[in-house]
Amino acid sequence: MLSDITLGQYYPGNSVIHHLDPRTKILGTLLFIIAIFMATNTAGYIFLCVFVMAVILASRLPVGMVFRSLKPLAFIIILTMALHFFMGEGEQVLFEWKFLRITQEGLAMGIKMSLRLVLLLLISSVLTFTTSPIVLTDGIESLLNPFKRIGVPAHELAMMMTIALRFIPTLIEETDRIIKAQTARGADFSSGNLLQKAKNMLPVLIPLFISAFRRADELAIAMEARCYRGGEGRTRMHELAYTKVDVGAFVLIVVVMAIMAALRWWPL
């Protein structure tokens, strides 16, 4: 049951997007999110949708899979839309019944807001689908490196993410095992109210925490035995390097932002 949870939804492939440097993808995603919030008019939104579709196609990921990544957040998207539909202020009333009132402005706002969310989710899932978690971690470390001087622990954060990625499947397996063991001893995890259920989880959480601490302790010793001494003087097997394609990607994203700015301030 718990093993269904997939982490780091990496989908290996050979597309241009897969081969971009992770830093390019992370920065590009951030810039594109800014571009999303620059959109105000229909032309802007259409342009953004076309661009996201083009990126998805270029990544050669199964389109259905990318869209399915919206599912966990579908509720929030629909809620956003509904709230704007029914709460939106506006002059042109389209529909009125008792306290419900839908205006044209509210309708437009609802669609725009949820579209922003959808675009944001799609572009970030392209990032995680096309970048292996380890490469992503490396990218984050490298991007945070300049901030070391102001006290950002770039290497430590990246190492924490690496270890978390390594151990989450192990801990999930272990949780599964403990649940089964406690069920065999007659524990009941499915009945009772929320408080009752939370209380029933204690016999799972306590052994899990104890074992996690023991693991952490042993891992620390094993890392030390393998000459780990922090980020200083460390080399990498996978070195990050920008290529011409990365430069092209940056130019492209700047052009996208320029177009969005133009559409915003000088509408057609």
Binding site: E173, R214, L219, A222, A225, R226, C227, R236
Partner: protein
């Protein structure tokens, strides 16, 4: 030739939660030769793990000396040299693998000691090949069998090209097949790369395959010698709560009953051969 590791009156006292001193090693003297396969056995709590942790300066002596390749483990300036000379493999394979991809994990130690980027990949590949795990370079460790995980852990140490690998009950959590894999890997590395092994185990049939066995009790070495010499001393092993191999026990019983058998029978084959004569 100078021994690879030399322990002189090595003593270690832990301070436990109630501030009591627990003497885990008492004036232990031992020389470990270049290229040998040394098995360490002894009852629970006799100080085997404590001894192991001294060999690459994870613990420092509270008395006496531990010299690795002539370097004193107390000397802070040799710390990383010592850890590169003596690698360590622990009992639980899950808790010593750091990265989510096998080859990344094998590279971990090399990255730590700052091996140039271009040299890392070839060394990782050589190490994976040495433990027969090349085919799994891109796998996720949590999906491997126990024996395979443990071999990945060994590869991570082998990549550092150590002179000696200390293994603390590496097979304790493995099934019989996994145990065989590890034993075969150890012997192969000893033969092909002349790596010295210090192998702590509770399995007598593993210790029997070593070049030399030391038996510990209460922080001291109480018996040592070739496996045949140590394991044929059935009665002494029993007083130390260790079980001699079946063949040795049977041979001792038969000898007791008046049969004249050679003293150094420890394997079933040797026993059969002696009886058929």
């Amino acid at each position: 030739m100078q021994p690879l590791i030399e322990l002189q009156d090595l003593t270690h006292a832990y301070t436990d939660a109630e501030n009591n001193q627990v003497l885990a090693l008492q004036k232990l003297n031992l020389q470990i030769e270049q290229g040998e396969f040394l098995a360490v056995i002894g009852a629970n709590g006799c100080g085997k793990s404590t001894l192991a942790k001294h060999l690459n300066a994870l613990l420092l002596p509270t008395g006496g000396k531990c010299l690795v390749n002539g370097m004193d483990t107390q000397d802070e300036s040799h710390l990383w040299d010592i850890r590169q000379t003596v690698g360590m493999v622990f009992q639980n394979p899950d808790n010593q693998i750091v990265a989510a991809v096998v080859e990344e994990d094998v590279a971990f130690g090399l990255e730590n000691i700052g091996v140039p980027h271009a040299e890392i990949r070839p060394r990782v590949e050589t190490a994976l090949k040495a433990v027969d795990m090349s085919a799994y370079a891109l796998h996720a460790p949590h999906l491997l069998s126990g024996g395979q995980k443990q071999r990945v852990a060994i590869a991570g140490v082998v990549a550092l090209e150590p002179r000696c690998i200390v293994m603390d009950e590496p097979t304790a959590m493995l099934d019989p097949l996994g145990r065989k894999e590890i034993m075969a890997t150890v012997k192969k590395l000893q033969r092909e790369k002349q790596i010295t092994f210090v192998y702590i185990t509770h399995y007598m049939n593993e210790a029997m395959q070593a070049d030399r066995v030391i038996v510990m009790d209460h922080g001291q070495i109480v018996m040592q010698g070739k496996p045949a010499e140590v394991f044929s001393r059935v009665a002494e092993l029993q007083t130390l709560h260790l079980e001699a191999p079946l063949a040795a026990t049977v041979a001792a019983d038969l000898r007791h009953a008046g049969l004249s058998l050679p003293r150094d029978i420890i394997t079933n084959e040797e026993l059969a051969a002696a009886l058929c004569r």
